[in-house]
Amino acid sequence: MPSNDSVQTLYSDHHGWLHAWLRSKLGNAADAADLAQDTFVRLLQRGEQVQLNTPRAFLRTVARGLVIDHWRREELHRAYLEALAHLPEASAPSAETREVLLELLERIARMLDGLKPKVRRAFLLAQCEGLKHQAIAEQMGISVRTVERYIADALYHCYLLRFEDER
């Protein structure tokens, strides 16, 4: 397998295959075409030499991250509309406000990616509901100390994601 493929060679050799793979995951040709383009754009943006002993495994990895981001947006959108459906109509935000809020939710959901479910839960109870540690401990059936540790861990995790690049 050649290892010095440029993104261009990659594109001509594997674009068709990648599109088909994405289509099988997304079940939708238009989204698949978008994400296939995005995959190659990501590679171009990186600019540096990439490891290409197994170009398709590599492309699939990049594409997989984009598929997950795409799904995350879809799921957030759907869950958000469901949550709003339980509210009285008067208190539902405008369409523009919804877009802004969804972006905020997406940014945070991405940051919290990779946290253990309990850590994530404790953190969200504090951040969304403003609950005290004691109340979170009771709701989750864990000790206050554990709650403190979870929340501190989650914040540190987010800190690293947010500021890592500036180090």
Binding site: R60, V62, A83, P93, D113
Partner: protein, 322 residues
């Protein structure tokens, strides 16, 4: 990294202060103590500012509607995981996407599962294709098995792979290290990711080295040992230590330098283990049990003119007998 970035310790302290203040409803006493901490060092203040900003960015209480933010995030996360597990990976274990995308982009990946051992621990794992993977002390392996290939990435440490002898394995069995991509065909081999190189030893069967850069393949035959680094691949004529013995809980040495031996032993325990220069080249042959590295060290003065100087449990230096 610039000098301006606060240390991990300062950041964690800032987080503690922030949480304590929040819990106490900004108690004046705590506020004052926090002020003192902040002004004690510039680093503290910087860490504090960053943590406060981060905390504001992550504040979701402003999202209108009781429970809407929490419900949206929790429900969508659950569904997203299920979708990933079902459609993307065929496997329940899953790391985050954005994070690993950024971290793993420069290597072939798509990692679906992690296997790891702690210092001093050794474990065996049966892989999805029936191959047996044994991990030595302090090792970590990521797996990406799909319909194209069976790919293992050795992050650090050492693995022994006994290839499945199931027929018709159309997918290549690959081990990626920092230095090379290896392909196993049959038999059993050991791969170790050392600091500056990869070591491969084949007990039996065949392994191919796919070298990054030239696309050529180098075959390793049964009984051979190779060292791979950025310079290239080099066959080692002899090795002072049986590379596979750890899988049976042993270190087996033949005329091994004492310093090299201690370096091996220190992989299995925490703390410092070293020796003085005068005795570094003493030679050691024998069979040592890995189960209790501390006891193993106690044996040294019985066979070599050395003594152990132990300051704490975690600091041991082997020295010449006076």
């Amino acid at each position: 990294m610039t000098a301006a970035a606060p240390s991990a310790k300062a950041v964690k302290q800032a987080i503690q202060w922030m949480l304590r203040l929040r819990e106490s409803g900004n108690s004046p006493v705590l506020l004052q103590q926090c002020e003192q901490w902040r002004s004690a060092r510039h680093e503290h203040e910087l860490a504090w500012q960053r943590v406060v900003h981060l905390h504001q960015d992550l504040d979701l209480r402003a999202i209108p509607g009781a429970g809407v933010a929490l419900q949206t995030l929790e429900t969508s996360q659950r569904r997203l995981h299920r979708r990933q597990a079902l459609k993307l990976l065929g496997c329940a274990a899953m790391a985050g996407s954005a994070t690993w995308l950024a971290k793993d982009l420069d290597t072939v990946s798509g990692w679906t599962a992690d296997y790891a051992t702690a210092t001093g621990e050794r474990r065996s794992f049966r892989l999805p294709d029936g191959s047996l993977m044994q991990l030595n002390t302090h090792s970590a392996v990521d797996l990406a098995f799909d319909d194209q290939q069976r790919l293992l990435r050795l992050q650090h440490g050492e693995l022994m792979l006994t290839c499945s002898d199931a027929p018709n394995q159309a997918r290549p069995l690959l081990v990626q290290t920092q230095d090379a991509l290896l392909e196993g065909f049959d038999g059993r081999f050991v791969v170790r990711q050392a600091r500056d190189c990869t070591q491969v030893s084949v007990s039996h069967g065949h392994v191919a080295i796919h070298r990054p850069g030239n696309g050529q393949v180098q075959w390793i035959a049964s009984g051979q040992h190779w060292r791979l680094d950025t310079q290239g691949a080099q066959r080692l004529e002899s090795v002072a230590m049986d590379p596979a013995a750890w899988s049976e809980g042993l270190i087996v040495t033949r005329d091994m330098r004492l310093r090299d031996f201690l370096e091996q032993v220190s992989r299995y325990r925490h703390g410092y283990l070293g020796c003085s220069d005068e005795i570094a080249d003493l030679r050691l042959s024998g069979v040592f049990r890995l189960e209790a590295p501390e006891q193993l060290l106690q044996l040294l003065p019985q066979t070599l003119p050395v003594r152990l100087r132990q300051r704490t449990r975690w600091w041991i230096r082997v020295e010449q007998v006076a």
